[in-house]
């Protein structure tokens, strides 16, 4: 809890009997838990369990149907620069028309009205953020010309550029090859260590992330719960969660991974 005290003492997320309704349909309910600041937290659940709904609520895009949610002690959406968001399909359509560095700059200035050039301070800050994710050398190229792994770095830079206290990543490893997955995981670990941000990551395949994760929000039978990773990585719980037999295997090197038990 030392980290959470370092950030105003408020929990990163605090759910008090929250329920989510979308299009007149109850998605999940009775969420009551606190996520301390400073951790790397997985958001897991079967397809359609309401993971995206949960993210949207934290981002302030969907109000809680009942109960109360606080993000670092404030209403969701109140501090938009305080959360960085890496969506699942990053800049899928417009990548041909814009350079990577422009996109990261928009992460800093995209909310400001009125015309005007970026200040030297803003430009330096963007350059520093790009360097922090090792994206400096391809920052001036078109987004569409970058590989999946390079694009994911730009997405992370865009999320980090406003100096957020929390970064939310939606399936950051999907559609990446193994090497790029490894690079993104290493990058996340390093950023977490250096910047002390809270990281929330939605992932179907938790295995590449397991060494990093310290806890998880899991959506089970229509209710979100929160637990530390040691409690979550449990055959019975995961089997129930995904509705298919899952085994947790341990390697002689002390690593663990999840697999379908056939």
């Amino acid at each position: 809890m030392s980290r959470s005290e370092a950030t105003d003492g408020a929990a990163a997320l605090s759910f008090a009997n929250v329920s989510a309704v979308r299009g007149g349909r109850l998605i999940w309910s009775e969420a009551s838990f606190e996520v301390p600041a400073g951790g790397i937290v997985a958001v897991i659940g079967a397809n359609g369990a309401g993971k995206t709904t949960l993210l949207h609520m934290i981002l302030g895009l969907l109000p809680a149907a009942s109960g109360e949610l606080r993000v670092f002690g404030r209403r969701p959406g109140e501090d938009n620069d305080g959360i960085g968001f890496v969506p699942q399909h990053y800049a899928a359509s417009a990548g041909e028309a814009i350079r990577a560095v422009d996109m990261v700059m928009l992460g800093l200035t995209g909310r400001r009205w009125a015309f005007g050039r970026a200040t030297p301070t803003q430009r330096r800050h963007v350059a520093e953020t790009l360097a922090a994710v090792d994206a400096g050398e391809f920052a001036n190229r078109r987004l569409a010309s970058l590989s999946g792994g390079q694009r994911q770095r730009i997405a992370i830079a865009e999320a980090l550029v406003s100096k957020p206290r929390m970064v939310i990543l939606d399936e950051p490893l999907a559609a990446l090859d193994l090497r790029s997955q490894r690079e993104v995981v290493t990058l996340l670990a390093r950023l977490h260590r250096e910047l002390a941000v809270t990281i929330l990551v939605v992932a179907h395949d938790m295995n590449p992330l397991l060494p990093l994760l310290d806890s998880a929000i899991y959506l089970l039978d229509g209710h979100p719960h929160y637990a530390t990773m040691t409690d979550v990585v449990d055959d019975a719980l995961l089997t129930h969660l995904y509705g298919t037999p899952i085994q947790v295997a341990h390697t002689p090197q002390g690593e663990m991974y999840m697999r379908s038990a056939l």
Binding site: N80, A97, D102, L106, G110
Partner: protein
């Protein structure tokens, strides 16, 4: 109004024609229209709303032919219908797949309605032709003032919302997460688009509108990935097309709409061909026969090593 241009082939006195008052109006009006097209063209391409732009230019048709029935200026009717259509399309939401079908349906119905109104009137057939193919040479001095005011409003609006608009255009999910009002901006953009379309229709007509509004922006994006520079280049190509098209129409006695559109398309084709060759010869790694190994497939994805 074009009768004194009706001689054949090359016209020796084309410089004199360019100096005639109607031609001066056409040049000024065409420039204003081209600047407006350049201003919104970049966003049309990036937001993938080319079909909506096309639809708005047809939705205005019944407005124009209907206005003739009511003894109102056709361009006023066009503008009202076009902006109305923009509000509807903008409010329909962000799911492009849904929007294409509903937009297309509205488009077809509006065109049919335009035809019907036209058949009710006895002398509005020139309105119909003017809306479909444009008539830059018929711009009056009053219209110039209206166009200049519209361009000013358009430029101020785009200037005021430039960055949030750019952000929602290139990265809607993240912009929305940052609290940018994505939905409101989508409706605002559609209205600005409708105003630009209303102006551009006067120059090249709804059937050729694509080449003045969208082709120059697509050309600019091939040339640069800097949004503000792309908008400037796009406007420059539009202006160049209008000037060159008008001058050539004075020289050869050909409808200006056709020539404006031709210039814009030729510029696009040239840039596309050069860019395509450039990318192939530079980046194919170890390729013995460049351009043959990597055919028309998107070069960026095939040539960048994954990872």
């Amino acid at each position: 109004m074009t009768t004194h241009l009706m001689e054949l082939n090359y016209q020796q006195n084309w410089l004199a024609i360019l100096e005639a008052p109607f031609m001066r109006n056409a040049l000024i009006g065409g420039t204003v229209v081209a600047l407006a097209a350049g201003l919104v063209g970049y966003f049309i391409v990036v937001r993938r709303t080319a079909f909506a732009a096309h639809a708005l230019s047809h939705i205005g048709l019944p407005g124009a032919t209907g206005a003739v029935l009511l003894n109102l200026p056709p361009i006023l009717g066009f503008g009202v219908f076009s902006v109305g259509g923009a509000l509807v399309i903008g409010a329909l939401g962000t799911r492009v797949a849904d929007r294409d079908v509903s937009t297309g349906t509205i488009l077809a119905f509006a065109t049919g309605l335009g035809l019907f109104f036209n058949s009710l009137a006895t002398k509005s057939s020139s309105t119909m032709t003017n809306v479909l193919f444009g008539n830059l040479l018929a711009i009056s001095s009053d219209q110039l003032l209206t166009f200049a005011a519209l361009l000013l409003a358009l430029a101020l609006s785009v200037g005021a919302i430039y960055r949030p608009m750019l952000y929602t255009s290139v990265n809607a999910p993240v912009a929305e997460a940052k609290g940018v009002p994505v939905r409101v901006l989508s409706i605002v953009f559609m209205v600005l688009l409708a105003l630009a379309v209303t102006m551009a229709v006067q120059a090249v007509g709804s059937l050729l509108l694509f080449a003045l509004m969208i082709t120059p922006a697509a050309t600019a994006i091939l040339l640069t990935a800097r949004p503000a520079v792309a908008m400037a280049i796009s406007a420059a190509i539009s202006v160049f097309s209008v000037w060159f098209g008008l001058a050539a129409s004075a020289m050869f006695n050909v409808p200006p709409s056709f020539l404006i559109v031709t210039v814009a398309c030729v510029v696009w084709l040239a840039v596309w061909l050069v860019g395509r060759r450039g990318r192939h010869t530079v980046t194919v790694p170890g390729g013995a026969t460049d351009g043959v190994v990597a055919p028309a497939a998107p070069t960026a994805t095939t040539l960048t090593p994954a990872g």
